[in-house]
């Protein structure tokens, strides 16, 4: 089997369109996960014991089952209980929930990474709680959370091929379809791998740069 450039260029428009869908899925999924993570983290930190307990159990449950199983559950099983969602909605919901549980841990760790002494300094200066979070705790927690947040962005991106299984027209799904139509698999799947590579690598590098820039803006690096 030889690489065919004419075929490559022929399928390129469809592959690029699918790349758009992959990025869209990763982007929306990530945004939902960021918010879900925040809600779960707050749920674990509320003084209400019962809320605490429930949220912790839910997080534990979601984290101990594979994303693919959750995806199938939402898309194939839930309709049998009358909850019918489109492939896209199921995908975004599942990714949001699944990665939200991981992001809640990232947030929690970051908040705990801010020394207790910083809270006490705020109290001694009579800051309100809201102001303490806004001006002192969150700005210091953010750089701690950033690497984890970045890793999960790339992680979601690399997990989007799973969405092919429920028919979301992202890269993998498109490559599958092209293979089925033309019986050529070499070019479509190679292109999938290549596209993931050329997006992931600069993204990871960009994230490192962002981390360094934030650290520098906060005076952490001697310049």
């Amino acid at each position: 089997m030889e690489w065919r450039w004419d075929f490559t260029f022929e399928i390129l428009p469809r592959m690029l369109w699918a790349t758009g869908n992959t990025l869209l899925a990763a982007g929306i999924g990530y945004l939902i996960a960021l918010v879900v993570g925040l809600i779960l983290m707050l749920g674990q930190r509320t003084p209400y014991r019962i809320v605490n307990f429930i949220v912790r159990e839910v997080v534990e449950f979601i984290r101990s089952t594979p994303l693919l199983v959750q995806l199938f559950f939402v898309f194939f099983v839930a309709p049998q209980f009358g909850i019918k969602l489109t492939a896209w909605t199921s995908a975004m919901l599942t990714i949001g929930l699944h990665f939200g549980t991981y992001l809640s841990e990232v947030y929690r760790g970051a908040l705990e990474g801010v020394p207790k002494a910083q809270w006490e300094a705020c109290r001694a200066l009579n800051f309100s709680t809201a102001y303490t979070y806004r001006r002192v705790v969150l700005p210091q927690a953010f750089p701690i959370a950033l690497p984890g947040m970045g890793n999960y962005l790339v992680g979601i991106f690399k997990d989007t091929p799973l969405l092919a299984t429920i028919g979301v027209a992202e890269l993998m799904h498109t490559a599958n379809a092209l293979g089925a139509e033309t019986y050529r698999y070499l070019e479509p799947y190679t292109m999938v791998g290549f596209i993931f590579l050329i997006i992931s690598l600069p993204a990871a590098m960009g994230l490192r740069r962002l981390e360094a820039a934030v650290a520098k803006a906060q005076g952490k690096v001697k310049h």
Binding site: E120, A121, R123, A124, L125
Partner: protein, 268 residues
């Protein structure tokens, strides 16, 4: 509701009063029915062995810790409690916020905000808590940074400052709130020997020129002796002995005080 303590103190009362204050952590009693009055403009040093409750005295006064019994009064009104019926009840967070601004604290480890410059460290609270405009807050902060000799470093982040410089910024930050009483918890203990002097000089000037009421926990016996109006020796959560520096350092009465001073002076 508790009616053992008055709802306010009569005129002419001390600026700070600890009335039978008890603080414990589980079974460990750290402050044991402590009674301590601090007069306006008084400079009181607290000395004593490690673990005797010195830091805790400052922390409960700063309301960083709640007390288990007794009442602390500041400026005639209760701090840890608030009026309720004919007696007192434990202060709410909003009541604490009103009363706490009379007190400022400087910590052993400085606790500056690392993501802010020296100047930003000093203007945040005056702007947010006292409602000063940025210009007013900066003017006040620059005056104070100049007083502590840090005006030339106003745009530096704490990581680029030495310990002594950080501690001087921390003092300016606390002063910017114009507290009536300043609490200093071993403010030179984390410093290299060569920069201790610069911080002590700032405290000296606060005492002599600004006549600020201060409570200072310290291991610097020479400094405590030089600067204090009164020295309190703490032992196991109680004031074992207190008096003028001359009296306490030269003619201690309590066996524990003598032992402590011997041990400390031998070590130096």
């Amino acid at each position: 509701m508790d009616t053992r303590h008055p709802q306010s103190l009569p005129d002419g009362s001390p600026l700070v009063r600890f009335a039978d204050v008890t603080k414990s952590y589980g079974d460990l009693t750290v402050l044991d029915k402590l009674n301590l009055d601090i007069a306006q403009n008084e400079m009181v040093s607290i000395i004593g062995p490690s673990g005797s409750g010195k830091t805790t005295v400052l922390r409960v006064l700063m309301t960083l810790e709640t007390i288990n019994d007794g009442v602390i009064y500041v400026d005639g009104e209760p701090l840890t409690h608030m009026p309720s019926g004919a007696g007192l009840e434990v202060a709410s967070e909003s009541y604490l916020r009103q009363r706490r601004s009379k007190i400022g604290m400087v910590f052993q480890q400085f606790n500056l905000f690392p993501h802010m410059t020296a100047l930003q460290n000093c203007i945040e609270a005056p702007m947010q808590v006292l409602g000063l405009s940025r210009d007013e807050a900066e003017e006040r902060a620059l005056d104070l940074l100049q007083m502590v000799g840090m005006d030339s470093k106003k745009d530096q982040h704490p990581t680029r400052l030495s310990g002594g410089q950080q501690q001087r910024v921390a003092i300016a930050r606390a002063l910017a709130m114009r507290p009536q009483v300043m609490l200093l918890d071993e403010v030179t203990s984390a410093l290299d020997p060569e920069v201790i002097g610069e911080v002590l000089n700032v405290i000296r000037s606060l005492n002599s020129e600004h006549n600020l009421t201060m409570i200072m926990v310290t291991h610097q016996m020479g400094f405590a002796r030089e600067i204090s109006d009164r020295v309190c020796f703490f032992y196991e959560g109680k004031i074992a002995e207190q008096g003028s520096p001359e009296k306490l350092f030269e003619d201690p009465q309590n066996e524990r005080t003598k032992q402590f001073l011997h041990a400390v002076l031998d070590a130096n």
